[in-house]
């Protein structure tokens, strides 16, 4: 069985994903956020050089300055990388904004 999951790229993050702000991805049952990150990089990252804009140095976690929300809830409350995706989950990635 595969699940349908929605990913959102806000706060300017869409710039590295071909200006896509919302995308639907299909993942195998049992997938975690960790798996989703790799899938996003494979399917949506326009320029491989920009991977450091999304993932951290070991290309596994998320880089500092990006917030991750699972169904509008901070991923820290949901298990972060190990969270197991459910059908129709909405995972939001947003850059921290600093402008004023």
């Amino acid at each position: 069985m595969s699940l349908s999951v929605s990913a959102e790229f806000l706060g300017g993050l869409d710039q590295i994903f071909g200006k896509v702000r919302q995308s639907t991805l299909t993942v195998p049952e049992g997938s975690t956020i960790k798996d989703l990150l790799q899938l996003i990089v494979q399917q949506h990252l326009e320029n491989p050089k920009d991977i450091c804009m999304f993932l951290d140095d070991d290309n596994e976690g998320i880089r500092a300055g990006i917030l991750v929300l699972i169904n509008d809830v901070d991923w820290e409350l949901e298990g972060e990388l190990e969270y197991e995706l459910e059908h129709k989950d909405v995972v939001t990635f947003t850059s921290t904004l600093h402008g004023g």
Binding site: L10, G11, G12, L13, Q15, I16, R21, Q22, D50, C52, M53, R63, A64, G65, L67, L69, D72, V73, D74, E76, L77, T92, T94, S95, T96, L97, H98, G99, G100
Partner: protein, 306 residues
């Protein structure tokens, strides 16, 4: 450290009457008068008199906040005026704090304004922040955001934090009612190598202004005791002025609480006033770059970072 008043003049009732009719503003006070006195006796510090600070300062002054401090090292530049509506072509090249203070005294002479024409830094942050009841972070660099946060945690002041770029904005309240601080949300600063992608940002005046306006609303809520230990939940509100759904959108995310291992507000409280003032926390170094490279918009090159 200063005297509080327990009376409003007839002029003040006339001036503030319309807002004292709003149940939500007065319901946590014993009377509308007491609610207005909570504003009159309040001291609010606004760091940054730019796109966020402009409406925040105007609305807080207009609403009757008694004492407002403004920190900003900059002067008014022509390129500010498309969005920084507290300033004016007649105050070009004035210190922004002075330009803002003029506008605030014009709209409400009852407001006492204190200006700090300097950057907030390790040496002055604690001694400025300690004089106020609530702090608004209207600045535009990660460095200043970490510094303001640490000073607010050390001094025990709630922090209303806003930011924005292009058509988007973010709003949170930190260090209030045992909730999280900025460092709880962001234990590590963004890496310097993440600062190169968006060379074409910019900002739309009323979009950043909307966040500043929301900051004023949150400040009024804090001052009139709207939030309690029971109803306050850590949040981040995200605004988009050009939403795909048409019109404009706000989404509120439920966020983590205070983290026991936070360097700033955690159980160990590793960052102290002495550390900050002695320069032990080097905010520029901590953020991995010099302060210029982190400007969200570099006014010289028009290069932009996220």
């Amino acid at each position: 450290s200063s005297t509080t008043t327990s009376e409003l003049s007839l002029l003040e009732y006339r001036r503030y009457g319309r807002q004292l009719l709003v149940p939500q503003l007065v319901e946590n006070s014993s009377s509308p008068t007491e609610a207005q006195l909570s504003l009159k006796n309040a001291k609010v510090l606004v760091v940054g008199a730019g796109g966020l600070g402009s409406p925040a300062l105007l609305y807080l002054a207009a609403s009757g906040v008694g004492q407002i401090g403004i920190v900003d090292p900059d002067t008014v530049d022509m390129s500010n005026l498309h969005r920084q509506i507290i300033h004016s072509t007649t105050t070009l090249d004035f210190p922004k704090v002075q330009s803002a203070a003029l506008a605030m005294k014009n709209i409400n002479p009852f407001c006492q304004v204190t200006t700090y024409h300097e950057p907030l830094n390790n040496l002055n942050s604690w001694s400025i922040v300690e004089n106020y009841d609530v702090v608004l972070d209207c600045t535009d660099t990660p460095q200043s955001r970490y510094l303001i946060n640490d000073a607010c945690v050390v001094a025990g002041k709630p922090l209303v934090s806003g930011s924005g770029i292009r058509t988007e904005g973010q709003l949170s309240i930190f260090n209030h009612l045992n909730g999280p601080c900025y460092r709880c949300f962001f234990p590590n600063p963004p890496a310097p190598n993440s600062v190169t992608a968006c060379s074409d940002a910019g900002v739309i005046g009323p979009c950043i202004g909307l966040i500043g306006t929301m900051m004023a609303v949150e400040c009024l809520k804090i001052l009139t005791h709207h939030y309690t230990q029971d109803n306050f939940k850590p949040f981040m509100t995200m605004y988009n002025g050009f939403s795909e759904q048409g019109s404009q959108s706000l989404r509120t995310f439920k966020m983590r609480g205070r983290k026991a291992d936070c360097l700033s507000c955690g159980d160990a409280k590793k960052i102290t006033r002495e550390d900050i003032e002695a320069g032990k926390i080097n905010y520029s170094q901590f953020c991995g770059t010099n302060i210029d490279r982190y400007d969200v918009i570099d006014y010289k090159t028009q290069q932009v970072s996220i």
